[in-house]
Symmetry: C2
Subunit: 156 residues, 2 copies
DNA sequence: CCTAGTCCTTCCACCGACTGGAAGGTCAAG
DNA sequence: CTTGACCTTCCAGTCGGTGGAAGGACTAGG
C-alpha cells in the first residue's frame, strides 16, 4: 500500500504518517520509485497510534505503548501504569478547567452585557485585590497550550 | 521601573514581558542605556494580561480585552461576548476530557496490571472493532496541544 | 508520443505562548 | 578595578502536526 491507501485505512492524514515515520513510529520500506510502501503490520501500528492519540496519549507514550504492543512478553502492569498516569493528568486538567469555568461563569453572570461601559469582567481583571497576581502564572501555565486558536481541528 | 521590578510586581517572568512587548501588548519606553522602563500604566496592563491569561484567555483575546479595558466608552456586551465564547470553549474541552476519562477509566479498570502479558488496554488499541478509526482523528485533534509534556509548568 | 491529472517525494515555514541559553553591555557596591 | 547582578539581543527549541512550493512518478486518454 502507498501512503494514500494507509492514510485512508488508518484515518490519519498522509502528512501525519510521514511525520510518524520521521520520528520513528513506523518504518515503511521504499520502492524503486522512492514511494513508501506499507504492509499490514505498519498499517496496524498506525491504527494503534491513531487510537492511542485519540485517547490523548502523548506521542512518547504512544511509542512506549507501541513497543509494549509488539512485545509479546510484556507485563500488563507496565501498560496499566502508563494509562493510569495519563488518567491522572486528565483528571488534573479537568479539575483546573472546572475551576476556570466556575470563575468565568460568575463573571459572565454578573455582567449586564449592554451598551454601558460598566463591566465586572474588566473590573475583575484590572482591580487590585487583596490576593494579588502572585499565583496567576501557575494558573496560566496550567491552562497550557490547550487553546490553539489557529489550529484547524482544535476544539475551541 | 526596570523589567525586573515589573516582573516581580506582575508575577510574570521577564522573558514573558519581553515577549509581550514583542507582540505589542505593552510598549515600555527605553532609557538612554537601552533598558526598558515601565510606568504604572504598563504595569497595570501586564497585571491585567496576567489575570486574563490565568483565566485561560488566548493572547489575542487578551489584546482585545486590553483595548476594551483602555476604551472608556466600551460596551460591556463586547466584553461579555468574548468571555462567553471562552466559557463555551472551556465547556467543550471539559466535555471532551470527560469522554476520554470515562473511556480510559474503563480500560484501566479492566486491566489486571500484573506480570502477565494479557492486557485489555493494548487489545482495545489494536483490535479492529465494528466502528473503525474513522473518527479517531477528530478526537485526537480535540485533545489538541493540551498536553505539553516538556513544558516546565504545564499540568501533566 | 504527448498531455492532463493525480499521486508521490522533499524541504521549509508556521501555529501558541512562551522558555533556555549564549554572548555581550550596564550599573552599583566594595 | 573587579565582581556580580541586572539588562540587552538573537537564535533555537518545545508539541504535534499543517500548509504550501517545487518537482518526480504514474495512469488514462487522445
Amino acid at each position: 500500500m502507498n501512503i494514500g491507501d494507509v492514510a485512508e485505512r488508518s484515518g490519519l492524514p498522509a502528512k501525519t504518517i510521514r511525520y510518524y515515520e520521521d520520528i520513528g513510529l513506523v518504518r515503511p520500506v521504499r520502492g524503486a520509485n522512492g514511494y513508501r510502501h506499507f504492509d499490514q503490520t505498519e498499517l496496524h501500528k498506525l491504527v494503534f497510534v491513531g487510537r492511542a492519540r485519540s485517547l490523548g496519549f502523548a506521542i512518547e507514550d504512544c511509542r512506549l505503548l507501541l513497543s509494549l504492543y509488539e512485545d509479546r512478553s510484556r507485563e500488563s502492569a507496565e501498560v496499566k501504569a502508563i494509562a493510569e498516569t495519563h488518567l491522572d493528568s486528565i483528571d488534573r486538567k479537568i479539575a483546573e478547567l472546572e475551576r476556570l469555568r466556575v470563575c468565568l461563569r460568575d463573571l459572565v453572570a454578573n455582567c449586564n452585557g449592554d451598551t454601558r461601559p460598566d463591566c465586572p469582567i474588566i473590573d475583575a481583571l484590572s482591580t487590585t485585590r487583596a490576593e494579588p497576581v502572585s499565583r496567576a502564572r501557575e494558573a496560566s501555565q496550567a491552562w497550557g497550550r490547550a487553546n490553539g486558536r489557529s489550529h484547524k481541528n482544535a476544539i475551541v
